[in-house]
Symmetry: none
Subunit: 223 residues, 4 copies
Amino acid sequence: MNEQQWLKELLQRNGEDVKLSEKQIKILQAAIEMFAEKGYAATSTSEIAKRAGVAEGTIFRHYKTKKDLLLAIVTPTLFKSVAPFLAKEFVKEVFESQYQSYEDFIRALLRNRYQFVKKYLPAIRVFWQEIAFHAEIKEQFQRIFTTHVYQKFKQIVEHFQEKGELTAIPVDSVIRMTITTIAGFLLTRFIVLPDYDWDDEAEMERTVQFLMHGLSKKDGWFA
Amino acid sequence: MNEQQWLKELLQRNGEDVKLSEKQIKILQAAIEMFAEKGYAATSTSEIAKRAGVAEGTIFRHYKTKKDLLLAIVTPTLFKSVAPFLAKEFVKEVFESQYQSYEDFIRALLRNRYQFVKKYLPAIRVFWQEIAFHAEIKEQFQRIFTTHVYQKFKQIVEHFQEKGELTAIPVDSVIRMTITTIAGFLLTRFIVLPDYDWDDEAEMERTVQFLMHGLSKKDGWFA
Amino acid sequence: MNEQQWLKELLQRNGEDVKLSEKQIKILQAAIEMFAEKGYAATSTSEIAKRAGVAEGTIFRHYKTKKDLLLAIVTPTLFKSVAPFLAKEFVKEVFESQYQSYEDFIRALLRNRYQFVKKYLPAIRVFWQEIAFHAEIKEQFQRIFTTHVYQKFKQIVEHFQEKGELTAIPVDSVIRMTITTIAGFLLTRFIVLPDYDWDDEAEMERTVQFLMHGLSKKDGWFA
Amino acid sequence: MNEQQWLKELLQRNGEDVKLSEKQIKILQAAIEMFAEKGYAATSTSEIAKRAGVAEGTIFRHYKTKKDLLLAIVTPTLFKSVAPFLAKEFVKEVFESQYQSYEDFIRALLRNRYQFVKKYLPAIRVFWQEIAFHAEIKEQFQRIFTTHVYQKFKQIVEHFQEKGELTAIPVDSVIRMTITTIAGFLLTRFIVLPDYDWDDEAEMERTVQFLMHGLSKKDGWFA
DNA sequence: CATGAATGAGGTTTCATTCAT
DNA sequence: TATGAATGAAACCTCATTCAT
């Protein structure tokens, strides 16, 4: 039972608990595992039913189509993926209190996303593997990203550029490099080389240092 | 005819020209386009045949199975993807003459891979989208990467660390950050936001600067 | 419904009733008819579906492959073909009570197998037509024949040779001639010339006489 | 080259040599082998071409359809199968000179057909395996059998019944038992148990004895 | 609410045959 | 004459979805 806790957490939004029957959870778990491994298109509903231990028809009682089942996995994952940026008070908190520097912010963000990926890895795999193939998912992601993540990220970066901590290269470049660096670490850590002998604390700190050296205002940037 | 030049180049190895009938090229082109767009599993051979303008049976005369068709696209792409590192004289050239600094090397590598991705984008998409789903492709990639790319990359990084240009953080971390940064740029440039108003020259130079500031030996790294 | 009785009987073993849905019976009936007529390889699953009045997919819900469908017909037929010899008490019964002579035994066997072929003719045709093409069927048959039929037949023949009823030629020859003669009659009667104006009682008795004259101990056998 | 002699002999009729190109012989050989092993319907023309070492198109240059190729094998085999009865002088020879008794006739027939089967086994397998599936072949066989074999066989049997050598049971029964017995031996010898440790001379003589004891006029037949 | 038999459209693959070379 | 690339119909089989129980 406890094993399914992560799934319930992934599916909840705004802290409201979602109601899922035993069978529904089994179905989602099976679907996530198989979609992650073989891909959505290469996984049959009968395989999912078998692994979930339910009848084929039961899947379609809960999810009208196979695609709905995918979206039931992918949509919550998308929201949780960018969750830090969805909180209303997020930017304010960054400015006013919590983070004294971009470095602090980055460090917190990296650690937060590290925990997130560690917890929900299979669902995240599904999300990123399928986003290339489904226009609806891509559009939903772009909408969320543009209206929530990008806007807020921009405010933060400009804030620290004005404070003189970050170089004056275009904000978009800073955002791109930041995201690319964080995502690059997590991808390598959890997908490309999960079996490598990682010293997570050290590598995360190295990643923060790399990013900050790369982005700090200092002599030499195009000098 | 000229349109297909890139395909012929992609398929050739060791400079030897590959022999492809008119129809074979049409099939490969159609397959690459559709696999890139919808994914291998979601693309039917009948669709490929239709787009290629051949009978469905013709596909199977040239490629015994649908999987063989995928591999005919993916294997050359894998080799071309890491081509710079496959050349015998590669490391020697880096040391002895061509590149005075890691920065020069990175700049050359980035430009080279930029041209590569620009030229072969659809095939590269197929490669990276499908590597997650096909164990054989993943294994082939790991074999090539470990024995060719990683070994040589390591020599190069150690060389410039000894020369005092790069920080003394673990070689693996340097390699990871380098690849991550380059790949992150190319991915954003060509896949995530291809329609953004890019100033390629400027962004590439910024990326090089970011990387070098991030990796250069200097006060502050863990100080 | 009653028409299908023979099929249910053919499929049952050890007297246990087999559970077959309406559609399954229709599929088996259609398959037997078509395999008998055109052969397994020349019969398509779509034809079977059409004749059975079911969707093609329904066949594959019940039988994973076309070959499985063949085996579902052929295996029970094989067992029923040699059924008399599979009964545990068979030899004992022959010796102790039922049959006073080889002639009685042969007569009973011939009549029994005559009824069997008459009842299950189409399935038997399938069995004998396909045994030449499928190694698994041939091997299964040889295993059953060697361990059950041959062993018991040998005991019986030796018994009546010792009693002086049968000539002293090699047991294997006696068995071969017996089987050959019985099978030859049934084959001619039901397959080669089913439309000939047969007097079954007379011809069976003639066949028994022919066999017994041919095999009885008497002056003249190699004398 | 000498290997193909049997094929040329099989194909010739009335002693006239048939003209066959090298490739045609290879095709026929390959077809006979594969039809014998897997059956006509389960053998593809491309397999035949491969085994024959010719291009697929070459088969269709010599035989308009796959069925024609089958008939090119089966028709000569049919004629050779009943060849002894096709000779014009056959009956006369039996009566006037060669065979003093039915036993002599049977012995000669059995030895003759034994040699025939030994020589042309693969083609004979094809003939008997396919006769069940192809109405044209069955009809051709029935025509030949009725008009040539049966007529002459009847004359012979009646001749020896009149001479008092054979019992007075119906001629058809005598013919059936004779053919059944001979065919039963050959089938067991060459198809069912070819690997058994046969003493051919002894078993053939036993078969003749069995047949003659079974058919001779004597006390006991229905007495 | 759950089941699983049934469907039929569509998937990959094979095949006999044709035809330009 | 011989080839083998090309065809497209049809083969076997899978699949998402429905629905009576």
